[in-house]
Symmetry: C2
Subunit: 301 residues, 2 copies
């Protein structure tokens, strides 16, 4: 039985980048997270889709060893997102969002998932994230993600959530907005002050910073890439690699978490090399190890 | 006799940052470079100032063990620069530039400096940088810096210069402009294609990338700082630490250059902690080693 669970979105995305356009492709936070984590550990996915969700996408996710018993099909349409990226690829511009069945997402946690040890609450309403957390026992490590919308509209619920989480994942803009700090180190310190054991600030092509015990525990650049095709899902892919590695090691301590930061970066570097989750269709475990080792060598010591 | 030489500007700066304003303080590329490098090696400085240049600044530079015999005093005023920084501190806005005596800078290389082995040509007219290079023999390592103005107005001269240099130092915006590439790895590859042995792209608070042999040799984040006071001179300070370390080791190979990248980052992290060169007045060599070791630990391995 798998120890890991992700609760989030499964979506149909339309992505426009300088490289090209890709329509109605498989996307969503839970999709990216679970496919990334699947290279390290089996896991369960809880999400909802509409009647229009293609069977081939369902098979694709399943093909990675992800248990999709918790992927509910509801009357209506699947969550759809359309976004575009300019030359620098650092920031998506949302052109259209249709929540559809995701608007009423009230995840049912399958019984066999209730003693999951590694849980990722992808970006949804923090009140809902808090509600979901009540389903689980004490022996768990929880990662939470969020976004500007919830920081601005539900800051109190988000603070409660972050307090209960083991890991909080935010990007630099979100961390600065949430903390009210323009300095990223102060922003990280603020996140830790809310109570989680670790805070991870993602900086896109510039890497990530891991905070623990009131200070920077470690930091990394991003793996250098000459060709970036589609940055969509890089953050969830990062979290999937990070938490997937922890579940694989089945230990959470400073040293393991440092390595997890590097594995998360490596997985994100693969994600952006093709549209959607395409890059993972031809990815092998040895490719991950190879890039991990190359990445280590590139990092100054 | 010192093996190292820097040719650049010595200036009086007025700097406005969110932390405060500092008027008519000692600045200039050669100042920052030489003070930073002086922690690793003795060196000579060649620059020009006006009659208004305070003796105390002269003594201050000299106090770091920098030979200022090549600091010429000319009739007229010293080069003055006024700039301001907003909250994010990543980019200076130039409010005023008065070249004064620096407009006719035709450096005279003192005889005893002509067999310098480590030479840094700070940002000046690339034709002048090329002219200066003719003064030296073959057994030398040359670092060159430049800026957007020369990239736009004298690209051919700059290409010739980069070809003759051992190291080219540019920031990310400059490297992208010079190469016409929006991807930083492609920009670095372009710089190498011009002929230098190493290319270093500086990314401010995000670190630096070192390119060699047609690829990324290593990359680093910046040392994480909670309080940034004044980013002026960080790039020249970085180059000073980088080349100073090379001169100290008196070796240029991949391994030494990788370490130099880290020492450059450490020196830059000190520079920005106070206005102008103030931080260096109380800096000790053991502070550098301490931060270098802490930095290494923070970098994921």
């Amino acid at each position: 039985m798998s120890k890991m669970l992700v609760i989030g979105s499964v979506a149909l995305d339309t992505v426009i980048t300088p490289v090209g356009t890709s329509e109605d492709i498989l996307g969503g936070s839970a999709t990216y997270f679970s496919i990334s984590a699947s290279f390290f550990t089996p896991l369960n996915l809880v999400a909802t889709v509409g009647m229009d969700f293609p069977d081939c996408h369902r098979s694709l996710i399943k093909g990675f060893g992800v248990n999709i018993k918790g992927l509910e099909t509801k009357k209506g349409k699947t969550f759809r997102w359309t976004g575009s990226y300019k030359e620098d690829m650092n920031c998506a511009k949302t052109l259209d969002t249709q929540l559809n069945v995701f608007a009423d997402f009230r995840p049912l946690i399958p019984k066999e998932c209730k003693n999951s040890k590694y849980i990722f609450l992808a970006n949804i309403d923090p009140d809902l994230q808090l509600h979901i957390l009540k389903c689980f026992g004490d022996n768990k490590f929880v990662g939470c993600d969020s976004m500007n919308y919830w920081i601005q509209n539900k800051p109190c619920a988000l603070k409660k959530l972050v307090k209960k989480g083991t890991f909080v994942f935010l990007n630099d803009a979100e961390a600065k907005l949430f903390s009210g700090e323009s300095n990223i180190i102060k922003a990280g310190r603020y996140l830790l002050s809310l109570g989680p054991r670790f805070a991870i600030i993602k900086r896109g092509e510039y890497g990530a910073i891991l905070f623990a015990k009131d200070k920077v525990l470690c930091l990394t650049t991003a793996y250098p890439l000459e060709n970036v095709c589609d940055p969509t899902g890089a953050g969830d892919t990062f979290a999937g690699g990070f938490m997937g590695y922890l579940a694989k090691m089945n230990r959470v301590n400073d040293q393991v978490v440092q390595k997890a930061l590097l594995y998360g970066s490596v997985m994100a570097s693969f994600a952006v090399e093709d549209f959607g989750v395409n890059r993972f269709l031809k990815l092998k475990k040895q490719d991950i190890e190879k890039r991990y080792n190359r990445f280590k060598k590139l990092t100054v010591v």
